[in-house]
């Protein structure tokens, strides 16, 4: 996949294979795939929280923790990211797709 | 030709049937059951387990709960089959006089035997025809069926038709001669088969069926018991009641050894 002139590897679900490849310009690209019409400050708050947590703990945070720390209810998170915190928000934040029973 | 059909083939057929069934069931029983397949809720006592398996064999509750129409014709077919087989065993030895033991006259006994025999045969015929029709009429069943599935039904139908023919037409079939002939077979002193073509065909087809059963889906009469036993087996109990002694481990615990043979 070539985005903005740089070669990025994505898996079949469209997630970054190597989280280190994440850059801000990719977020716009992912946003279109995940039905996010416009990237607002609220979106970035979630994305930044996810990235920080992932850097520290190598995994996505618990959904309730995400809600609590960002101050958004689960409903609001779905409004921001229609495909959900696991699929939508994690993809935009460059995290690997959460797998398992989710 | 008649010598072969009358005095050789029956032994061949029964031999193949017995050996074949032992081989087929043995093939299954030789393989271990590494993981209990208990289908819950499972019966808890030995007698209730026995009851469940027998209940399924006798009444077909799974069909009753699933498809009443199928239940009716499959059950009738099997029940009339049982009556026919039972009737042959009893009837051939007693020539229809068995009911005298419970107080009927000879005439009444013969009439009752004839009634029971004919009605079982007719019910079986009707059931088989309906099952055969169902197999062609229901699209998924038709797609699922192999030629062998039709062959099974047709073979059994041919046997039933030839048997009913003997019973219901005025073709004179000499019952005493047949009785003597079968007695000869059973006592290993075979005598020539009675020459009535209807009897010869009926008997020949029965022997063909005996040879066919162990190698076809008709083994389900035995397979059913083997399979259902797995489903009613008790679930494991923990802590395991066997001591963690290596000698006991290999003998009692059914460890699975299949897998990555690469």
């Amino acid at each position: 996949m070539i985005i903005d002139g740089k070669e990025i590897e994505l898996d079949e679900d469209g997630f970054l294979v190597d989280p280190a490849d994440w850059a801000e310009n990719l977020v716009e690209y992912f946003a279109k795939q995940e039905d996010v019409s416009e990237l607002t400050e609220k979106h970035w708050k979630v994305i930044n929280y996810l990235r920080d947590y992932f850097k520290k703990f190598e995994v996505a945070p618990m959904v309730r923790k995400l809600c609590k720390e960002t101050g958004f209810s689960l409903k609001e998170i779905y409004e921001l990211f229609p495909t959900g915190p696991a699929k939508g928000a994690c993809k935009l934040a460059g995290l690997p797709k959460p797998t398992g029973c989710v | 030709m008649l010598f072969f059909i009358g005095q050789v083939f029956p032994y061949l057929a029964v031999g193949v049937f017995i050996v074949g069934m032992i081989w087929r069931v043995g093939k299954w029983l030789r393989v271990p059951v590494p993981f209990q397949l208990t289908l819950s809720p499972a019966p808890v006592t030995i007698s209730s387990r026995f009851g469940k398996v027998c209940g399924e064999l006798l009444l077909f509750p799974s069909l009753w709960c699933g498809d009443r129409g199928l239940w009716l014709w499959a059950w009738l077919m099997h029940v009339s089959l049982a009556m026919v087989i039972g009737g042959h065993i009893v009837g051939i030895s007693s020539i229809g006089l068995q009911f005298m033991d419970i107080g009927f006259t000879a005439g009444q006994s013969l009439a009752l035997s004839a009634l029971m025999g004919t009605s079982s045969g007719v019910v079986m015929l009707v059931a088989l025809i309906i099952l055969l029709y169902r197999r062609t009429a229901v699209p998924e069943i038709k797609r699922l069926s192999d030629p062998a599935d039709y062959f099974d039904l047709l073979l059994i139908l041919a046997i039933v038709v030839s048997g009913l023919h003997m019973r219901m037409t005025s073709l004179n079939v000499d019952l005493m001669a047949i009785r003597a002939y079968l007695g000869g077979i059973i006592s290993f002193h075979p005598i020539p088969i009675p020459k009535e073509w209807i009897f010869v065909s009926h008997f020949f087809l029965v022997n063909v069926l005996l040879i066919y059963i162990p190698f076809s889906k008709l083994v389900h009469f035995a397979g059913s018991i083997v399979n259902q036993s797995m489903l009613v087996a008790p679930a494991p109990v923990y802590p395991s009641p066997i001591k963690t002694n290596s000698a006991n481990v290999s003998a009692k615990v059914r460890l699975w050894e299949g897998g990555n043979s690469q």
């Binding site: 898996d11 079949e12 679900d13 520290k56 703990f57 190598e58 309730r64 923790k65 959460p98 797998t99 398992g100 989710v102 | 087929r24 093939k27 299954w28 393989v31 271990p32 993981f35 209990q36 397949l37 289908l39 819950s40 809720p41 399924e56 799974s62 069909l63 699933g66 499959a74 197999r135 998924e140 069943i141 797609r143 699922l144 192999d146 030629p147 062998a148 599935d149 190698f215 076809s216 889906k217 083994v219 389900h220 397979g223 059913s224 083997v226 399979n227 797995m230 489903l231 679930a235 494991p236 923990y238 802590p239 395991s240 963690t244 481990v249 615990v253 460890l255 699975w256 050894e257 299949g258």
Partner: protein, 446 residues
């Protein structure tokens, strides 16, 4: 035919010990694996030999009813393997070919297996309605095992297996994250009750080892909180092991050797912790694996294995519960009702926790699968998943107004909300049974 899911890449399957078998060798290896399985599990030959093609299973399978695809009809699904079995392993099939229902292995065989054996939820409902008890799940388990041994498996399964190997749980949650999650949940409980309720991780010399589903540490934390509150109230000495933060055993769903490995973790963890009692959390197939497959996989064990719902039901009378004013129904997970002997316990618990409990129809061992069973949770199969969940949606909508749908299995918790949303039934909460216990329990200031 292209299987409707992403297939794991060669390097990924090789990384978990399943290198891709070259196409030319696939037939030979398939037949060799079939032979292995035939001599290892009695169920396979018996179930392949005894089908009389009566078709009673058709109307009882939610997969067939929902997708209306002929090969999802249980007997037809089993035929995909049965025909190969007859052709190569029975003299009748070898001699009489198509007459006896035998078929040659061809280019499409493995694609069909991948497509259809991953549309069977291994729910065992067909076994109930088969006069012989033929369990298509057994054939599916065998087929998926053979496919994985060839290096063919959904990406979903491979990812989970890789995570499990690395971290001991399906989600790949490493130890620091586990501790962080536990701390968060402890904080939540403190805020709610004013009590310091702990979630011990790797506490040595514990009597009880609790094995939650890893999803209880991601999306379904109310289930974990419910269990933690239960243990706290009963004052028992319990812990979670970071080596096996996973009640699930996805090996059961794609490869039996992997199933044994995952199961071994359970045995090792229990030994390490010194637990005499292992309690499995809300996970359907994981319960079946723990209860039915432990002895056969790893020999005798000297601890007890029970389910959190059994344990909770045993102690139900003691618990300080105030009934929540809700109208609740229960979805019986397949692996509890048809493979795990857990039928009445969730009902007893729910009745103690809420004011109104209603049964869906059919229920108990006759219940329909949610459609996600055996790990069919792939995003790319969403359309098929929604068809598989059709019967479930019908069952729930028939109940009218509901406040809560109890579904004590992680796969169901992932699948059912998507199904309900798809079919327009979204005015109800959904979650586990232990969630209700946590919410109904009177602890501290709440």
């Amino acid at each position: 035919m292209k299987p409707p899911m992403h297939i794991a890449k060669e390097k990924d399957t090789a990384a978990i010990g399943f290198p891709l078998v070259p196409e030319n060798d696939q037939q030979a290896v398939t037949l060799s694996k079939m032979k292995d399985l035939q001599s290892s599990m009695r169920s396979l030959m018996v179930m392949l030999d005894n089908c009389t093609k009566c078709g009673n299973c058709a109307k009882q399978c939610h997969s067939y009813l929902g997708t209306e695809d002929y090969f999802n009809f249980p007997a037809a699904r089993a035929e995909l393997m049965r025909r190969i079995y007859k052709r190569y392993f029975t003299w009748v099939g070898r001699t009489f070919g198509r007459f006896a229902g035998a078929e040659d292995f061809d280019d499409e065989t493995l694609n069909k297996w991948l497509t259809y054996f991953y549309q069977c939820n291994e729910c065992r409902r067909c076994a109930q309605f088969c006069p012989f008890g033929i369990d298509t799940a057994e054939v599916t388990i065998a087929a998926r095992h053979i496919l994985s041994e060839l290096g063919l498996m959904p990406k979903f399964m491979q990812g989970i297996a890789a995570n499990m190997e690395k971290t001991g749980n399906n989600m790949g949650i490493p130890i620091p994250a586990i501790l962080d999650c536990a701390e968060f949940m402890e904080d939540e409980m403190l805020e709610e009750t004013g009590l310091s309720i702990k979630i011990p991780i790797d506490k040595p010399n514990s009597d009880i080892l609790y094995i939650p589903s890893s999803a209880d540490f991601f999306t379904n934390i109310d289930t974990m909180i419910g269990a933690a509150k239960l243990f706290h109230y009963l004052g028992v000495n319990w812990t979670i092991s970071s080596n096996i933060l996973e009640a699930a055993n996805f090996g059961l769903l794609f490869n039996l050797n992997v199933m044994r490995e995952h199961n071994e973790r359970l045995k090792t963890a229990a030994g390490a912790v010194g637990a005499k009692l292992v309690i499995q959390g809300e996970c359907g197939h994981g319960w079946r694996a723990a209860k039915m497959y432990t002895e056969g996989s790893n020999g005798p064990v000297d601890f007890e294995i029970i389910h959190i719902l059994e344990y909770c039901a045993q102690h139900l009378e003691k618990l300080p519960l105030k009934k929540l004013p809700m109208r609740v129904t229960l979805h019986d997970p397949c692996n509890y009702a048809r493979a795990g002997e857990i039928i009445e316990q969730p009902r007893a618990i729910i009745r103690a926790c809420v004011t109104e409990f209603v049964e869906m129809t059919p229920n108990r061992e006759n219940n329909f699968c949610c459609g996600g069973g055996s790990g069919i949770l792939m995003d790319e199969m969403m359309e098929i998943r929604m068809k598989l969940g059709k019967k479930k949606a019908e069952q729930v909508s028939a109940l009218g107004k509901l406040d809560y749908l109890a579904m004590p299995c992680s796969i169901c918790k992932a699948q059912i909300p998507a199904v309900m949303k798809h079919y327009g039934i979204d005015n109800l909460s959904m979650g586990g049974v232990m969630d209700l216990v946590g919410k109904a329990m009177i602890l501290g200031k709440n």
